[in-house]
C-alpha cells in the first residue's frame, strides 16, 4: 500500500509539475494544442472518407506518413549517442544530461507509432498485430519485427525514465545495478529499431532503390546526425530557460560526433550514387527521378539537392572546431542537419522507391493538405509529450545534481 501511495504521489506530482508554467509556457502548449486539434479534425476526415483524402495511390502506396515514420525512428536513436559516452565511457558532462535523450526517444517513438497508425487502412484492426491476441507474422514479416522492436524500445525507455524520475521525485538513491544494465541494453535496442526499419525497405527485391545492402548502415549514420541535432537545440534552450547546467564540453563533444556520423553518411550516399550512375542499369531510373527528374516529373529534385547541400554544409560547420563552438553556427548546423536528414530519410527515401512503379508508371506524388495537417498534429503530440516530460523532469534532475554537488 505504501508503495502504491508513493506511485500515486509520483504520478500526481509529475502532472502537477508539467502543467505549471509561465505565460510563454502556456502559449507554447496552446500552440501545440491548436496543431493537435487541426490534426484530429483532418484525421476524422480520413476516417470518414478513407485514405483517398491523401495523395497516395496504388502506384505510390506509401508516402508522407511512412516517410515521417522512418525519419522519426532515426530521431529516437538520439539517446544512444548520449548513453554511450555517459555510461560506456563514464564521461560525466554527458551523464548529467543523458536522461533527456531517453525522453526524446520516448516522444519520437510515440510519433512513429502514430504515423504508422494513421497510415493503415483499418486502424480498428490494429490488435491483429498483438502477439497472442492477433497473428503477428514473425519471423517472416519485417513490419512484424518492427512492431516488436519499436514497442520494446518504447517500453525500455519508459521503464528507465520512469524509474529514474520516480527515485528523483522521492529523493531516493538510484539502484545502479538495476538501471545501468537497462541503459546498456538500450544501445543495441536503438540499433535494432533502425536496422529492422531499414530492413523493411531493404528486403523488398521488387524495389531496386531500396534493395541495397548499404541502406541499414546509412540509416544508422544519418540517425546519429538528426537525433543529436534536436538534442543540442534543446540543451541550448534549457540552459536559457531552466536551471539545468549543460556544459559546453558536452555540447561540443556531441557536435563533433555528429560531424563523424555525417561524414560516414555522406560517404555511403556517395558510394551508392557512384554505383547507380556508373553502372547505368535500368534501376538508375529511381535515382534519376530523385536528382534530375524524369521529363516533366521533377517534384522531388529541389528537395533532393537541398538535402544534399544542407548535409554537406552542416558537415563542414561541425568539422571545424571554431564553428561548432560558436553558438550561432552551431544552431545553424543543427537546423541544416535536421532539414537534410528529414528530406533524405523521409520523402527522398520512400517516394523514389515507388516512382516509377514496378510496371514503369510514373505517378507524381505530393502530400495533400489533410496529410500535412495530420502530420503536424502528430508532431504536436510528440512535442507535447516531450515538453511535459521535460517540464516535470527538469526540477527533479536539477535537485538531484544540486544535492550531489552540494
Amino acid at each position: 500500500m505504501e508503495r502504491l501511495r508513493k506511485i500515486w504521489e509520483f504520478l500526481f506530482g509529475i502532472l502537477r509539475m508539467s502543467l505549471r508554467g509561465g505565460a510563454t509556457y502556456y502559449m507554447w502548449l496552446g500552440f501545440l494544442g491548436v496543431l493537435l486539434l487541426s490534426g484530429i479534425l483532418a484525421y476524422a476526415d480520413q476516417l470518414r472518407l478513407g485514405l483517398v483524402v491523401t495523395n497516395m495511390r496504388d502506384q505510390v502506396s506509401w508516402a508522407f506518413y511512412i516517410g515521417n515514420f522512418t525519419f522519426l525512428v532515426g530521431v529516437a536513436a538520439a539517446a544512444v549517442l548520449l548513453v554511450i559516452p555517459a555510461y560506456v565511457y563514464h564521461w560525466k558532462p554527458i551523464k548529467e544530461i543523458a536522461i533527456f535523450g531517453e525522453l526524446l526517444a520516448i516522444s519520437a517513438i510515440v510519433m512513429c507509432l502514430l504515423f504508422v497508425t494513421v497510415d493503415i487502412g483499418r486502424p480498428e484492426r490494429f490488435w491483429h498485430l498483438i502477439p497472442g491476441l492477433g497473428s503477428l507474422n514473425v519471423p517472416s514479416s519485417l513490419l512484424g519485427w518492427d512492431v516488436l522492436v519499436l514497442n520494446g524500445y518504447l517500453l525500455l525507455n519508459a521503464v528507465i525514465v520512469g524509474y529514474m524520475l520516480y527515485k528523483a521525485f522521492h529523493k531516493e538513491e538510484v539502484n545502479q545495478r538495476f538501471v545501468v544494465p537497462l541503459l546498456l541494453l538500450s544501445i543495441p535496442a536503438a540499433i535494432s529499431i533502425h536496422t529492422v526499419t531499414a530492413f523493411v525497405y531493404n528486403g523488398m527485391a521488387a524495389r531496386p532503390f531500396w534493395n541495397a545492402s548499404i541502406l541499414a548502415p546509412r540509416f544508422i549514420a544519418s540517425a546519429f546526425c538528426s537525433g543529436p541535432a534536436v538534442m543540442i537545440i534543446l540543451f541550448l534552450i534549457l540552459r536559457r530557460v531552466s536551471r539545468i547546467h549543460v556544459r559546453d564540453e558536452a555540447i561540443w563533444k556531441i557536435a563533433e560526433l555528429m560531424a563523424y556520423a555525417m561524414f560516414i553518411n555522406l560517404f555511403l550516399a556517395g558510394a551508392e550514387l557512384f554505383k547507380e550512375f556508373y553502372s547505368r542499369t535500368e534501376h538508375l531510373v529511381h535515382t534519376r527521378y530523385l536528382y534530375t527528374g524524369l521529363g516533366d516529373h521533377t517534384t522531388l529534385v529541389p528537395f533532393a539537392w537541398a538535402s544534399l547541400i544542407c548535409s554537406i554544409a552542416a558537415f563542414l560547420l561541425f568539422l571545424v572546431p571554431s564553428t561548432r563552438r560558436n553558438e550561432v553556427t552551431l544552431v545553424l548546423g543543427c537546423l541544416l542537419i535536421y532539414t537534410g536528414v528529414y528530406i533524405e530519410k523521409g520523402m527522398a527515401l520512400v517516394i523514389p522507391g515507388m516512382t516509377p512503379d514496378t510496371l514503369g508508371e510514373i505517378y507524381e506524388y505530393a502530400p495533400t493538405v489533410t496529410e500535412l495537417r495530420v502530420g503536424a498534429g502528430i508532431f504536436a503530440v510528440g512535442f507535447l509529450v516531450f515538453t511535459l516530460l521535460c517540464k516535470a523532469a527538469i526540477p527533479m534532475i536539477h535537485r538531484t545534481y544540486a544535492s550531489e554537488e552540494g
Binding site: G121, R122, E124, H128, N137, S140, T358, L359, E361
Partner: protein, 303 residues
C-alpha cells in the same frame, strides 16, 4: 486570481473526471450506434482458424450483408482447393491485340469497384522496336483501333508466384498461398498496411482508397469468400485466377472473353492440360525471373 487557485487540485480533478466520463460515453455511444455486426466484425477471427461451423456462419453473414446491400440474392461459398490441382496461366503475346476486354470482364466478374475504378489486369503497350521494356511502356494508350502497327501488348495481373514476396511481407498473415497455388487475401483480417503492395514486383495488388461502389444490377451473385465477394474500404485486393469459377472447373473470366484466344489456363499437374501442352510445345518465359518469384503465369509467342 492567484496561480494556486487556477491550478487547484479540485478543479483539476473535476476536469479529469469529466474528460474521462465524456470519453467513455463517446465510446459507448459509438459502439451502440454502430451498424449491426460492427462489433462482431471488430472481433472476427482469421478465416483459416475458423471451424467448419464458424465458416458456415461467416458465409451466411456475408451473404446476408450482400443481400441487404444490393437487394438481390447472392451465393457466398468457400469452395476448397481440389486435390492434385495447381493452376497455371499462359498468355500468347503474339496474339494479344490490346483490346482490354479482359480488363473489363475481370472487373465485372470479380465485383470490382466501378468508382473509383479498380482493375486487376493492367495491359501495357510496348514498342516493337524496344521489345519488352516495362519502364518505357504505358497502360494509358487510347487509339481509335487496336492493335497499332508499331506496338505490341503485355497484360499483367497477379503472377501467382510460387515464392510470393507479398505473403511474406504481410505482418498479420492476412494473405497466403492456397494448396492449388492461388494467392488469396482474407479481407476481414487485412489491416491495410500495404506492405504486400510494396513487396509485389508486378503491381498486382490494389488498395481500396475509398468505399468501393458497384450498382446492384452489376453485381455478380456467384461469390467466393476469398475471391470476388465485395470488398470494403481500407483493404488490399488482387486477382485470384477467378477462384469462384476455376475451383468448379470453369475458365477465368479473362480467358473466356479473350477474342483472339491469347489466354490459356489449366492444371499444371495434369500432363494432358492445355497449359502443359503449350509449355512443352512452345517456349515460355516469366516476368522478372531474376527475382526468383517463380510465377505460375507464363508468357509465350505461339507464332
Amino acid at each position: 486570481m492567484s496561480e494556486h487557485d487556477r491550478n487547484s487540485p479540485t478543479s483539476r480533478r473535476a476536469f479529469l473526471t469529466a474528460a474521462g466520463l465524456t470519453g467513455m460515453a463517446a465510446i459507448s455511444a459509438a459502439v451502440a450506434g454502430s451498424k449491426p455486426g460492427f462489433v462482431e466484425n471488430l472481433l472476427a477471427r482469421r478465416f483459416v482458424e475458423l471451424t467448419p461451423e464458424q465458416v458456415q456462419r461467416r458465409l451466411d453473414e456475408v451473404r446476408r450483408e450482400c443481400e441487404e446491400r444490393f437487394g438481390r440474392e447472392v451465393d457466398v461459398k468457400s469452395t476448397k482447393a481440389l486435390e492434385g490441382v495447381v493452376f497455371g496461366y499462359g498468355l500468347d503475346l503474339s496474339r494479344c491485340v490490346g483490346c482490354r476486354r479482359c480488363v473489363y470482364a475481370c472487373a465485372k466478374e470479380n465485383n470490382n469497384s466501378r468508382h473509383p475504378q479498380v482493375h486487376w489486369i493492367r495491359v501495357l503497350q510496348m514498342e516493337k522496336e524496344d521489345g519488352i521494356d516495362l519502364v518505357h511502356s504505358t497502360a494509358y494508350y487510347n487509339p481509335e483501333k487496336v492493335p497499332e502497327e508499331d506496338y505490341f501488348y503485355l497484360p499483367v495481373a497477379c503472377q501467382q508466384c510460387r515464392n510470393p514476396p507479398c505473403t511474406r511481407a504481410c505482418p498479420v498473415k492476412a494473405t497466403w498461398q492456397e494448396p492449388d497455388g492461388i494467392v488469396v487475401i482474407d479481407y476481414d483480417w487485412c489491416i491495410g498496411c500495404r506492405c504486400c503492395m510494396s513487396a509485389c514486383p508486378y503491381g498486382a495488388r490494389h488498395f481500396n482508397w475509398s468505399d468501393p461502389t458497384i450498382d446492384a444490377e452489376a453485381v455478380n451473385p456467384d461469390m467466393h469468400y476469398l475471391g470476388n465477394r465485395p470488398r470494403m474500404r481500407g483493404v488490399v485486393e488482387k486477382c485470384t485466377f477467378c477462384i469462384q469459377r476455376t475451383r468448379e472447373g470453369r475458365y477465368p473470366a479473362c480467358c473466356e472473353i479473350c477474342p483472339v484466344g491469347a489466354r490459356k489456363f489449366g492444371n499444371l499437374l495434369d500432363e494432358e492440360s492445355e497449359i502443359r501442352y503449350l509449355m512443352h510445345e512452345k517456349r515460355v518465359f516469366v516476368l522478372k525471373e531474376e527475382l526468383a518469384t517463380r510465377p505460375k503465369f507464363y508468357y509465350f509467342y505461339a507464332t
